[in-house]
């Protein structure tokens, strides 16, 4: 089997067995990037030199008998993770000139694990978007159909993995930005529990919702990589000091007896019929595999989109204030005075969606509106969290679709933010409640992938990964690759 058709776990095994070297592996994927990236626009920066150096070091580590499970495995980082000496654009003109002088914790940990960095991937500007169309560097295309979006905001990472330009990539998920693109390109993507993965060095969008995670072909791959990035970080006050289990070992937990709750609210109006049918079929298959299926309800969940679109913009309006043209990032030409510097640097540096959210966020925090919007949204957020808590008293895992529809046409929703926002209707709940969730491929509608979403209780990643792994042992959707990239 050609190298790029192997999962991360299979590549790791091949490296361990010295079937091929890390340098050979890196060259193979770099060649694929060179061929396919111009059409896909998944990578913003390709770090070929760095990759070959990383790979040579990985081979030396292995020769010295000091290799770990990920030594020599090529990866890519979403361009939201700060990388020392490599541009971190966040998909924005604002940071087109920004080279961070330090590594994010996630970057540091994957490097320490011996992975090989191939480059940085495209994304919606500052992670604000569900289609990758808000990137200053142009949209990413879906490898299954170049006219379609790959989802967002981690669209570059998703498309790169789906087209097998890289075996796995990091992403961030604030309202579905790992799971929704994973679903739309037919790969697996996990958003861990809030606090499980350090946010240090991740350019902030909405701090109380942002969480780094993994996009890879299989749940097993996600388990492998999540183990490397998870864990307490004293540099992030919201990271949680809970021991990291051996996710790979716990993949083997039996599905038998697992109580899977089917969320009533996830199968209501708005869900595309064929998509819903595939998700229901995959849940039926989980029952056949031994899981117990239970109907559950989280009555406040339908309020998650409006809640999110108050909380996330509020936090982003403040988080993005640091981009003022003074210390880093875009600065306008010849400012007349301080106010002109602020206005033009920000006016020129930010795209339309980012501005829309900054304005929304500024509004909901304003004197006289704070109680009606921000405070109320926080109360609803508590209700949604309580709904989930109650649900997890009766079930172990919740199941439903990841996205209401398969990938849509590039340009189809750009002028209609409300419709665009509804793409995240099934994913936002887990962010508001800080819960771990995974999307795994569960079929195709008209040649486009569909994702099954599993949501777990806090720090229930092992349970999610084991259930997804059991499903993937009985299905092959995660192994399918678009014909053009086979």
């Amino acid at each position: 089997m050609s190298l790029h058709r192997r999962s991360v776990a299979e590549l790791a095994a091949g490296l361990a067995a010295k079937e091929f070297s890390a340098v050979e592996l890196a060259r193979h994927f770099l060649a694929r990037i060179a061929t396919s990236n111009p059409a896909l626009n998944a990578f913003l920066t390709v770090t070929a030199e760095r990759a070959l150096a990383d790979a040579a070091r990985a081979d030396a580590t292995r020769a010295a008998g000091k290799a770990g499970p990920l030594t020599g495995v090529p990866i890519a980082h979403k361009d939201i993770f700060c990388t020392d000496g490599i541009k971190t654009s966040c998909g924005s003109k604002m940071l087109d000139n920004f080279v961070a002088p330090y590594d994010a914790t996630v970057v540091e940990r994957l490097a320490a694990a011996g992975t090989v960095l191939l480059g940085k991937t495209n994304m919606d500007e500052f992670a604000m978007g569900s289609s990758n169309e808000t990137s200053y560097f142009g949209p990413v295309r879906n490898p299954w159909d170049l006219a379609k979006v790959p989802g967002g905001s981690s669209g570059g990472s998703a498309a790169a993995v789906a087209a097998r330009l890289v075996p796995a990539a990091t992403g961030t998920d604030t309202g579905g930005s790992i799971r929704q693109p994973a679903a739309l390109v037919g790969i697996s993507g996990i958003k861990p529990t809030y606090g499980r993965v350090s946010r240090y060095g991740m350019v902030a969008f909405a701090s109380s919702l942002d969480q780094g995670g993994i996009l890879a072909p299989s749940a097993e791959d996600c388990a492998l990589l999540l183990g490397a990035i998870a864990g307490f970080d004293p540099r992030d006050s919201t990271s949680v000091d809970v021991p990291v289990p051996d996710y790979v070992a716990e993949l083997q937990a039996p599905l038998k007896g697992l109580r899977i709750g089917v969320l009533k609210e996830f199968f209501a109006a708005g869900l595309d019929g064929p998509t819903g049918a595939l998700v229901e079929a995959s849940i039926a298959q989980l029952r056949e595999l031994g899981a117990q299926i239970v109907d559950v309800s989280c009555p406040n969940l339908p309020l998650s989109v409006p809640t999110y679109y108050v909380v996330a913009p509020a936090e982003c309006s403040s988080n993005l204030s640091r981009f003022d043209g003074v210390r880093f990032g875009h600065r306008c030409q010849s400012p007349r005075d301080l106010m002109d510097l602020y206005k033009r640097s920000r006016g020129e540096g930010f795209g339309a969606e980012v501005k829309r959210r900054i304005m929304t966020g500024t509004y909901v925090l304003s004197a006289g509106y704070y109680d009606a919007y921000y405070l109320k949204a926080q109360k609803v957020r508590s209700l949604i969290t309580a709904d989930f808590k109650r649900a997890f008293e009766a079930v172990d895992v919740l199941a439903g679709p990841t996205s209401p529809t398969p990938a849509f046409d590039i340009g189809a929703k750009v002028d209609d933010p409300i419709t665009m926002y509804l793409n995240d209707i099934y994913t936002i709940g887990a962010n508001l409640a800080g819960l771990p969730a995974i999307s795994v491929p569960c079929g195709f509608v008209g040649g486009l992938p569909v994702g099954l979403q599993l949501i777990g209780p806090h720090f229930g990643e092992s349970r999610l990964l084991a259930a997804a792994h059991a499903y993937q042992r009985a299905s092959d959707f995660h192994r399918r690759v678009p014909a053009a990239y086979a």
């Binding site: 940071l95 961070a100 902030a204 540099r235 006050s237 919201t238």
Partner: protein, 489 residues
């Protein structure tokens, strides 16, 4: 301007907001050092610069210091307080927001007692004290057509101490400000340096007709950097507000700056232009939870507080409340006084003498030379050595001043100076009598006048005899012998 005499029929209402820079080694949310005076931007880390992806991590030492202040003012320590973001754009504010505490501060409902001029005490409420980060500084000097930014100060921990509007005059405001100043230095949570800005004060000032219960519209006077200027700024502002109101005008709520060169306040920005700070809880920081055990741990480290010390000095040393207040106005002064007393074998016999000397000549020389206590030319043991010679009548109090000056100049011991300069008091009766006899012989006219009833001339003979003995005659003996030898009046 006429200090502190408020015009007829008006009452002054003042509340102070004090910013005390906490004396932590590193910043409140980063590991950068806080030392003052380093080259611009050499003490600013990526966190302080607000770099994308960086996150704040709370310095536990700042929390400990805030709790210490709370305990020392009898305040409630919040079991759970919240850090909030105060959003506004300014070049010296790197993140575009300041991390502060808004709705739920760490310290609430404290109080301090101040001593009024009439000798009575007044309790001043402390509404709250909250933790926050300082901003950087904009630099305008030496830069043509440009402004510089120094972010060394950005992220320095501050405790903002907000009083109730309980102060009724500039004098009361200063008494309270000094009290807080003394306290934070006792607690070793702030160096109190006003020139370097580690202790700053904003004053909220309003006036109202006596008898009214509702407050008048207030103005906030920003960042006045000395006790004297705070007093002058408040007095100016009070007069200005009364002038406006008596002239039929009304006060506009605004922020004003005090110009010490012109001794006036001027509007800085009005409320209409005021920022909407859009406070909201900082999602990068968890709520600050303080366990009762931690509070007790901090309580165990509290030093004897100024009021407790002053009470002890009054009760056990027999000092007046005023003297006790002066001696406890700084921890170093009180410690020095106590060291002198200890050297002299305890308070019973020597408290008053030690207090007078420490507050008098010693403090005067220290201030004259601008020295810290540790660098005093006459340390506590040496001062005690001098006072011992007064107590055993080797020298008089007057000669002691002379000896002290020489001790200070040469960092010498009292006995060595007395010996070298031959300043030992004359207590030999016959020697004094001989001197008196010579003075009487030399001044027959005055002697006759004295003996005929002009008793005021007694002082003349004291002076002449002292002069003849170079001031060394024991004053009590001299008096006694003079009375005997002069006879009459």
């Amino acid at each position: 301007m006429n200090q502190d005499t408020v015009r007829d029929g008006w009452e002054v209402v003042i509340g102070l907001e004090i910013h005390a820079q906490l004396a932590t080694r590193s910043k409140i949310f980063s590991a950068s050092p806080t030392a003052y005076g380093a080259a611009p931007n050499t003490q600013a880390s990526l966190v302080d610069l607000g770099y994308p992806g960086t996150l704040p991590v709370l310095n536990g030492d700042a929390v400990r210091m805030a709790v210490k202040f709370g305990l020392a003012t009898g305040a409630t320590i919040a079991a759970r307080s919240i850090f909030a973001r105060k959003n506004y754009f300014y070049p010296d504010l790197p993140k575009g927001y300041q991390i502060s505490q808004y709705e739920r501060p760490v310290v609430e409902d404290g109080s301090l007692e101040i001593l009024l001029e009439n000798g009575t005490k007044k309790t001043i409420g402390i509404t709250r004290a909250h933790l926050e980060e300082d901003a950087g500084k904009s630099l305008h000097e030496g830069l043509a057509n440009a402004s510089g930014i120094d972010l060394n100060r950005a992220g320095t921990p501050l405790l903002e101490i907000v009083s109730e509007p309980d102060l009724r005059s500039a004098k009361e405001a200063i008494a309270y400000l000094k009290k807080v100043h003394t306290l934070v230095r006792y607690l070793e949570i702030c160096d109190g340096n006003m020139q370097e800005g580690s202790f700053r004060c904003d004053a909220n000032v309003s006036v109202r007709r006596f008898g009214k219960t509702e407050f008048g519209t207030r103005c906030e006077i920003k960042n006045v950097n000395s006790f004297r200027f705070v007093e002058k700024a408040i007095n100016y502002e009070v007069e200005r507000q009364i002038d406006v109101l008596e002239g039929g005008g009304s006060i506009v709520q605004e922020t004003r700056l005090y110009d010490s060169a012109k001794d006036e306040t001027r509007p800085m920005r009005s409320k209409e232009e005021a920022n909407d700070y859009r406070y909201f809880p900082d999602p990068d920081l968890l709520p600050l939870e303080i366990a009762p055990a931690f509070v007790e741990q901090v309580r165990a480290t509290l030093p004897e507080l100024p009021d407790e010390k002053a009470a002890r000095f009054s009760l056990h040393h027999g000092l007046s409340p005023y003297d006790a207040g002066v001696l406890t106005s700084s921890r170093e002064l009180a410690d020095f006084y106590e060291a002198v007393v200890r050297e002299l074998g305890g308070a019973a016999a020597s408290a008053k003498l030690a207090a007078n000397w420490v507050m008098g000549d010693f403090s005067a020389f220290l201030n004259r030379d601008g020295l810290e206590f540790g660098a005093a030319r006459v340390p506590a043991a040496a001062l005690a050595g001098l006072l011992r010679r007064i107590q055993d009548e080797t020298i008089s109090g007057k000669i002691a001043k002379e000896v002290f000056e020489l001790m200070w100049a040469d960092a010498a011991e009292a006995d060595a100076v007395i010996e070298a300069k031959g300043l030992k008091q004359i207590t030999d009766t016959s020697a004094i009598e001989t001197a008196i006899a010579a003075v009487m012989a030399a001044n027959p006219k005055q002697l006759a006048e004295y003996r005929s009833g002009k008793d005021k001339l007694f002082g003349f003979f004291v002076g002449q005899t002292m002069k003849a003995t170079q001031g060394k005659a024991n004053p009590a003996q001299l008096n006694e012998l003079l009375k005997k030898l002069l006879g009459g009046p």
